[in-house]
C-alpha cells in the first residue's frame, strides 16, 4: 500500500480537486484506492456524495485499537472508498498532541488498511501543523499543487525548510496548478529554476471551468469530462505520479470470484 499526500500550506490551490481526480483515476485503473478527507471543510467528502461525520476523531485519535475500516464509505466508483471528513477534525492538532508519538499517529492508524487498499490519497487541510507533520511522516510521496506565482514559490520554500528542519524524508513532487497561460507571471514563474530540493512534475493543470463544475456535478472531472483539457491533464498527472511512486500495479483479475 502506498500513501500519497496532497498538500500545500496555502489554501485554494487545487489540493482537493487533485486528490479526488487522481484517486478516481487510480481506482479506475484497478487499484483499490482510499481517499481520506482530512479537511474539516469536507470538500472531498462532498464531491463524492457522502455525508460528513460529526465527532468521531476523538476516539479515532485516542483509541489504540481504533478500526479505521469501520468508518469507510464506498463511493459511486468501483475500488474507490472514502474516509469521510469529520467536523471535529478542527481540533485534530490538540487530539494528536495527546498521543505518545503524536507525529506517527496517522501512519499507525493507516497501517492495517494495507490489507484492503493499494493506494491511500490524503486530502490535507492547508497550514503547517501537527496534522501536516503526521502527513509528511505517513506519506510515501507528497504532491504539492502550486499556483505559479512568486508568493507560492515562497510558501514552497517554507515547506521544504520545515521538512529539512524536521528531518522529513518523503519525496516532494510539485506541479503547477490552475495555470493560466495568458498570464505573463505564470509563464515567468514556470520558466524559472525551482528549488533544487523539490522535483517539479512535467504535467501542469490548467485553470479550467470544468474543474469548477465539480461542485455542481459532485463527481470527479475525470468521470464527467475525461476528454476535456482538465480531464486529460489529470490523467497525465496520475500517470506521472504512478511512475514516480512505483509499486502500483493493478490486478484486474482480482475482481473475479473464480
Amino acid at each position: 500500500m502506498k500513501i500519497v499526500g496532497v498538500y500545500n500550506i496555502k489554501g485554494g490551490v487545487g489540493k482537493t480537486a487533485t486528490a479526488v481526480n487522481i484517486a478516481h483515476l487510480a481506482a479506475a485503473s484497478g487499484l483499490r484506492t482510499l481517499i481520506w478527507d482530512l479537511d474539516p471543510q469536507a470538500a472531498a467528502t462532498f464531491y463524492l456524495r457522502v455525508k460528513p461525520k460529526i465527532k468521531r476523531s476523538k476516539a479515532m485519535l485516542r483509541d489504540k485499537k481504533y478500526d479505521l475500516d469501520g468508518v469507510v464509505k464506498g463511493s459511486d466508483f468501483t475500488d474507490l472508498d472514502l474516509l469521510p471528513a469529520d467536523f471535529s477534525y478542527r481540533n485534530m492538532d490538540l487530539l494528536l498532541g495527546e498521543n505518545k508519538k503524536p507525529a506517527l499517529r496517522l501512519l499507525k492508524l493507516l497501517r492495517p488498511m494495507s490489507e484492503h487498499y493499494d493506494l491511500v490519497v490524503l486530502d490535507c487541510p492547508p497550514s503547517i501543523s501537527l496534522v501536516s507533520e503526521n502527513i509528511f511522516r505517513a506519506a510515501d510521496a507528497l504532491l504539492l499543487p502550486t499556483i505559479p506565482t512568486t508568493l507560492s514559490l515562497r510558501t514552497m520554500e517554507q515547506l521544504l525548510d520545515f521538512m529539512e528542519g524536521h528531518d522529513l524524508k518523503a519525496p516532494v513532487y510539485a506541479f503547477y496548478s490552475m495555470v493560466d497561460r495568458r498570464k505573463r507571471l505564470h509563464q515567468d514563474v514556470m520558466a524559472s529554476p525551482g528549488d533544487p530540493r523539490c522535483a517539479v512534475l512535467e504535467t501542469t493543470i490548467p485553470y479550467a471551468t470544468e474543474v469548477e463544475r465539480m461542485g455542481l456535478e459532485r463527481r470527479p472531472v475525470t468521470d464527467y469530462a475525461p476528454r476535456s483539457t482538465a480531464g486529460r491533464a489529470y490523467r497525465q498527472l496520475w500517470d506521472e505520479i504512478r511512475d514516480k511512486v512505483g509499486g502500483l500495479r493493478p490486478r484486474r483479475v482480482a475482481s473475479l470470484p473464480f
Binding site: R49, D76, F77, R251, V253, S255, L256, P257, F258
Partner: protein
C-alpha cells in the same frame, strides 16, 4: 449482516443484465456500468491428478493480466496464485512458490492439459438510493464453456454477485434477502469446474489408468471377458493421440499397460473365447508391445536421469550431459518410428478388428468350453491354480536363490495381479485388500531385482556405444560405470530382501485369505 454467497446467485437463463436492472427499479435506481471480457481455463493432467487430490488449477485472463490460481474443488479460497503469461504445461515451468510445489508433486511426470475454457463477460451494476448515491454493487457474469471437442460454445448459468459498498450494510442485506427469499435464486457453487466440464459433455475424472470393471458373479464368462476387453480397448484408444503427439510419457505407459493386460487376459482366461481368436490377437497385441518398447525404455531412462544425476558425486554430475543428449536424440528417432507405427494400417486395423470381434453378436469359430459358465467359477479356479504355482515356485526360488527362478516368479506374480485386478468386483473387498497389498510388495521387490539388472546391462550397452578411442568421452563412460555399479548394488539389496518379502506373501494369514477368496467349494469346472 446476511451471509453473502461469495460466488453469487444463479440466475434463470433468461435473466439478462437489462432485465436484472429493470427488476431492481431501472433507471435512477440501478445503473448499468462497464462490461469487461474475461476468460478462464482449467488445467489438469489427462488422468485428473489435481482433481483427484481435490484441487483445481485455473488461469484467469482479464485484459492484459493473466493469473494462475490453485483452489480446492469444493472451497472458495485461493490456496495460491501467481502471475503467468502463456499456457502452463510442465509443472517445472511454473513460477516458484506453493502453487508450483503442490502441482509438481501431484503431476509428477505428467503434463498440464487444458480441459475446458470458459469465456465470459462481467458487467458492473450499481444500486442507488434516493440521493442517487451508490449503496451496493452487482457483478453480472455471463459465461460460455468452450472445448475443441464441441463445435459450439455451451452457455452456463448466468450469475449475479452482490458486492458491498462500505458503510451501506442495510442496503446489501435487503438485496441479499430479495435475491434469496423473494426471487429464490440459489447460491452459485464455489467451483465452476464441474458445471463448465459438464457443459461440454464431460465429467471430471473421466479418465483413470486404474482398471475398474464391475461384473456379476454369475455372468456368463464370455460376456464378462468382452466387458473387460472392451474396457481395456477404450483405455488403449484414449491414449493413442497423446502417445502419438508425445504429450507426456504416461500416455505411452498407459497404452502399453492396456496392451499387456489385454494379452494377459487373452492367455490367462482360457477356453472362453474361441481358440483361433485368442491365438490371432495374442500375436497382434504382442506386436503392439514390440513397436512401443524402445520408446518406453528411453522414456524410463530419461525419467530416471535426474535421479541418476543426484546419485553421483557433484563433481561427476556434468559427465552425464553427453549421455542425456544421446538418449534424447535416440528418443526423437524412436518416437518418430512409434508415431508412424500408430498411424499404420496394421495398427488401425487391429483396433478396428478387435472392437468388431468384441461387439459382434456371436463369435466366429468354435465357442470356448467355458463361455457360458459363470465367470466367478471360471476365474476363481484359474486364480487359485496360479496362486498355488506362485507359492510352489516362490518357495523353490527362496531355496535356490537363482535369478532365473525369480524372473519366472515375477512373470507369474504379474499374471496373478492382473487377474485379481480384472475380477476385483467379484470378491469381498476387505479380504482382497490384504492380498493385493502383499502381492504388490512382492512384485515391487521382484521388479526392482530384475529392472536394476536390466538397467545395468543397458548402461553397459550405452557405454559400449561411445567411441572408446576418443579420450574426451572417458568421463562420460566413467560416470555411466558408476551408475551401473549403483544399479547392481540395488539389485543385490533387492535380492537380499526377497526371502522376507516372499515370507510375508506366504504367511498363514495370507494363505487363508487366498483360500477363502478363490478356492472353489464346488470343485472343478471340468
Amino acid at each position: 449482516m446476511t451471509d453473502l454467497p461469495q460466488h453469487g446467485f444463479l440466475l434463470p437463463q433468461a435473466m439478462s443484465v437489462d432485465r436484472l436492472a429493470a427488476l431492481l427499479g431501472g433507471d435512477g435506481a440501478c445503473d448499468v456500468d462497464d462490461s469487461a471480457a474475461f476468460s478462464l481455463r482449467f488445467f489438469d493432467s489427462f488422468d485428473w491428478r489435481l482433481y483427484g487430490a481435490g484441487l483445481t488449477l485455473l488461469q484467469l485472463n482479464v485484459a492484459q493480466d493473466s493469473e494462475l490460481r490453485l483452489k480446492p474443488v469444493d472451497g472458495a479460497e485461493v490456496l495460491d496464485a501467481a502471475a503467468f503469461d502463456g499456457t502452463p504445461q510442465w509443472p517445472a515451468e511454473l513460477p516458484p512458490g506453493a502453487l508450483h510445489d503442490r502441482v509438481a508433486e501431484l503431476l509428477d511426470m505428467r503434463v498440464l492439459l487444458p480441459i475446458v475454457e470458459v469465456q465470459g463477460t462481467a458487467t458492473d451494476l450499481r444500486v442507488l438510493n434516493d440521493d442517487a448515491k451508490t449503496v451496493a454493487r452487482l457483478q453480472y457474469l455471463s459465461m460460455n464453456s468452450h472445448a475443441p471437442s464441441v463445435d459450439e460454445p455451451r452457455s452456463l448459468w448466468p450469475r449475479v454477485r452482490l458486492l458491498p459498498v462500505k458503510g451501506y450494510d442495510s442496503a446489501l442485506d435487503e438485496l441479499a434477502r430479495f435475491f434469496a427469499a423473494d426471487q429464490e435464486w440459489p447460491a452459485a457453487p464455489a467451483c465452476l469446474l464441474d458445471e463448465a466440464v459438464a457443459a461440454i459433455g464431460r465429467e471430471p475424472g473421466d479418465y483413470s489408468s486404474k482398471l475398474d470393471v464391475s461384473l456379476k458373479p454369475d455372468m456368463p464368462a464370455l460376456d464378462a471377458m468382452r466387458k473387460i476387453f472392451l474396457t481395456l480397448l477404450d483405455t488403449l484408444e484414449r491414449n493413442v493421440d497423446g502417445t502419438r503427439a508425445n504429450l507426456d510419457s504416461e500416455f505411452l505407459h498407459d497404452l502399453r499397460v492396456a496392451t499387456r493386460r489385454t494379452r494377459s487376459a487373452l492367455s490367462q482366461v482360457k477356453r472362453v473365447l474361441p481358440d483361433a481368436i485368442v491365438d490371432e490377437y495374442k500375436q497382434r497385441f504382442a506386436w503392439v508391445g514390440q513397436i512401443t518398447g524402445q520408446t518406453r525404455d528411453l522414456d524410463v531412462f530419461l525419467l530416471e536421469l535426474p535421479r541418476y544425476r543426484d546419485s553421483l558425486p557433484a563433481a561427476m554430475r556434468g559427465d552425464l550431459d553427453l549421455l542425456q543428449r544421446r538418449l534424447e536424440d535416440a528418443h526423437v528417432d524412436a518416437q518418430r518410428t512409434l508415431a508412424d507405427a500408430l498411424d499404420s494400417a496394421p495398427f488401425r486395423a487391429l483396433l478396428r478388428d478387435w472392437r468388431r470381434v468384441l461387439e459382434a453378436e456371436s463369435l466366429p469359430g468354435e465357442p470356448g468350453w467355458f463361455a457360458d459358465l459363470p465367470i466367478k467359477r471360471v476365474v476363481s479356479q484359474r486364480i487359485w491354480r496360479l496362486y498355488r504355482r506362485v507359492i510352489k515356485d516362490g518357495r523353490a526360488a527362496v531355496h535356490s536363490g537363482e535369478p532365473l527362478a525369480m524372473h519366472e516368479l515375477r512373470k507369474d506374480c504379474k499374471k496373478l495381479r492382473y487377474l485379481i485386478e480384472f475380477f476385483r468386483s467379484l470378491y469381498d473387498p476387505r479380504l482382497l485388500k490384504g492380498t493385493v497389498k502383499t502381492l504388490k510388495a512382492l512384485l515391487d521387490n521382484l521388479g526392482e531385482f530384475q529392472d536394476k539388472e536390466v538397467q545395468a546391462l543397458h548402461l553397459r550397452e550405452l557405454a559400449a556405444g561411445f567411441d572408446l578411442g576418443d579420450a574426451a568421452v572417458l568421463p562420460n563412460v566413467l560416470a555411466i560405470g558408476a551408475l551401473a555399479a549403483d544399479s547392481l548394488r540395488a539389485q543385490e539389496a533387492a535380492h537380499g530382501r526377497f526371502s522376507d518379502c516372499f515370507a510375508t506373501f506366504d504367511s498363514p494369514r495370507n494363505r487363508e485369505r487366498y483360500k477363502a477368496l478363490f478356492k472353489s467349494p464346488g470343485g472343478s469346472t471340468r
